[in-house]
């Protein structure tokens, strides 16, 4: 088992007297291998809070999280190597600014490998390979990460996690701020990593097209509670998503508009453009 949440709740302290419950009674399991999970839910529903439990950046107020065999609870346990948990589970933050702190991009990307005792020369080598994976060239290595554009920062922050090759990847809105072709390439990169290594990947996103096309499992949070944990096929056939401030993927929206306009016998549940085109051709032929 990779990560196992058991009845986890988390409270942010508000002031001395009160607290804010960001997630409530979450139970869920994530396998080490072959999961492609999207974690979705409206603004403030608790997604980033949940993600930060996956590598013990936050400790549960109640309940426990088992991460690669280590049982994480409210109390810090001296026997647990928390640093090592981060090698198991790599987390890319929602805001790259929270993750970038060195004076060059190269040092930022090398930080993870060095932290996990990769020799400096090899870490340097890894940095120049990884920067290219995220769509930037090697000239960026000498740049100051704070003087990059928003999308460039995002790419560097993703490179910084890929560089130390964690066993599971948790990515908090990894495509927000990327240009459209960059977004497609980044998803292809994640897919390729999974195809090659089998690593489980968890992505937080508001992009329903991405969810429908790529996820094998979708977890939906609402007001801190887990309300659905199912396949995208099941989720997007539900009629009640708007009440949770969610939406339907574009393929479904466009196909259902076509179906209604022309009274076509059209299967609207298509995940990508080629399948959608096939469905239209079939329906028109009928």
């Amino acid at each position: 088992m990779g990560i196992h949440f058991r009845e986890v709740s988390f409270h942010y302290p508000q002031n001395q007297l009160t607290f804010y419950q960001a997630i409530a009674d979450i139970t869920l399991q994530i396998a080490k291998q072959d999961e492609f999970i999207c974690l979705i839910g409206r603004t403030g529903s608790g997604k980033s809070t949940l993600a930060q439990h996956m590598n013990a950046l936050l400790l549960p107020t109640e309940g426990s999280v088992e991460i690669f065999g280590s049982l994480i609870t409210n109390k810090r346990d001296k026997k647990i190597n928390y640093n090592l948990l981060r090698k198991h589970v790599g987390l890319v933050f929602q805001f790259p600014e929270y993750q970038l702190f060195e004076e060059t991009v190269e040092k930022d990307i090398m930080f993870g490998p060095l932290n996990f005792h990769v020799p400096p020369e090899q870490a340097k080598q890894i940095a120049s390979e990884t920067i290219k994976l995220v769509g930037l060239d090697e000239t960026y290595l000498k740049r100051n990460p704070f003087n990059l554009s928003g999308g460039e920062k995002k790419r560097v922050s993703i490179a910084g996690i890929l560089a130390f090759d964690p066993d599971i990847l948790v990515l908090d809105e990894p495509t927000s701020g990327l240009d459209p072709q960059g977004k497609i390439q980044m998803m292809e990169l994640f897919k390729a990593i999974q195809a090659k290594t089998g690593k489980s990947i968890i992505i937080i996103t508001h992009d329903m097209d991405l969810v429908y096309e790529h996820a094998s499992r979708v977890i939906v949070l609402h007001d801190g509670s887990l309300i659905y944990d199912e396949s995208p096929e099941v989720l997007f056939r539900r009629g009640d998503l708007e009440q949770f401030h969610l939406q339907y993927p574009n393929t479904i929206k466009v196909l259902s508009a076509l179906r209604d306009r022309f009274g076509l016998d059209l299967d609207i549940y298509q995940k990508n453009l080629p399948d959608a085109l096939l469905a239209i051709k079939k329906a028109v032929a009928r």
């Binding site: 942010y12 929602q94 072709q181 508009a257 453009l273």
Partner: protein, 267 residues
């Protein structure tokens, strides 16, 4: 004289590499313009020159007839508000309330009026329950909502949104777009930097940047007939149009294609 008038403008951060190269761009009062382009193409840099945060190396930027200089910048800032790409860059106050108030403080808004606007715009973005919270303790999308409320509350004639909705849920995004449309109908000039083509389609005019230059500029109906322009600038066409273009058999799919085009622009 255009409302926003950029002439032969170039910009460099370091003194060496030019980031914006010879930009000419005129935007009329009441226009809604979407700015698109690959990461690092210069969109945010351009936006910052429009509010006098960055000074051109060459050329000029004028707002309503006044060229932006260090002397004119304070007056210009009263006419043009910007939501930054990273909301943290906008937060200075201890509470959400302070941050929404901040932009209004230089605008000679009376205290009463200010309180009214804070209440109104906090509600508009769904953050009315968070007014006493610290901005640092908000979720990503909540931060963006607060940053947006701060600019809306300034009620400037020109508003720039630099990827201001990138972390909003689809529902919140739609809600905000409805409101921006209303502002547009009231005559405001809207500049929206975005990677979301569906969002850009709400504008009348698309400006596409590439490597520090304006690569394409025109009405969306015209630009969308040129898929090569999109392909060359890291963009992707709206899904419905991709479908229409690939259903090439006119005799069979004519009506379907026409509908796909219409529905793309019927927003």
């Amino acid at each position: 004289m255009s409302h926003i008038d950029i002439r032969d403008m170039s910009f460099t951060y370091t003194g060496k590499r030019m980031i914006l190269k010879d930009i000419n761009l005129q935007i009329e009062q009441g226009e809604w313009v979407a700015i698109l382009g690959h990461n690092g193409s210069g969109k945010s840099t351009l936006a910052k020159t429009l509010v006098g945060l960055l000074e051109p190396a060459q050329g000029t930027v004028a707002i309503a007839g006044t060229i932006i200089t260090p002397e004119t910048t304070p007056a210009i800032r009263k006419q043009i508000g910007i939501v930054f790409q990273n909301p943290d860059n906008q937060f200075v106050g201890v509470t959400v309330r302070d941050d929404i108030a901040f932009g209004m403080e230089n605008l000679c808004v009376s205290r009463e009026e200010m309180l009214e606007r804070i209440a109104f715009f906090a509600k508009k973005v769904g953050m009315e329950k968070y007014l006493d919270k610290e901005p640092a303790s908000l979720s990503g999308g909540q931060k963006q909502r607060v940053a947006i409320a701060g600019i809306l509350a300034m009620q400037t004639g020109i508003m720039i949104f630099d990827e201001a909705t990138s972390m909003l849920d689809p529902y919140a995004r739609e809600d905000l777009m409805k409101y921006i449309r209303q502002l547009h109908q009231e005559g405001l000039t809207i500049i929206m930097i975005t990677h979301e083509i569906e969002e850009a389609l709400l504008a009348d005019r698309l400006v596409i940047m590439k490597e520090g230059k304006i690569f394409a500029d025109g009405r969306k109906e015209e630009l969308l007939k040129q898929p090569e322009v999109f392909a060359q600038s890291a963009l992707v066409m709206p899904l419905a149009l991709q479908m229409a273009m690939q259903l090439d058999d006119e005799a069979t799919f004519g009506e379907v294609k026409a509908f796909l085009w219409e529905s793309t622009f019927a927003k």
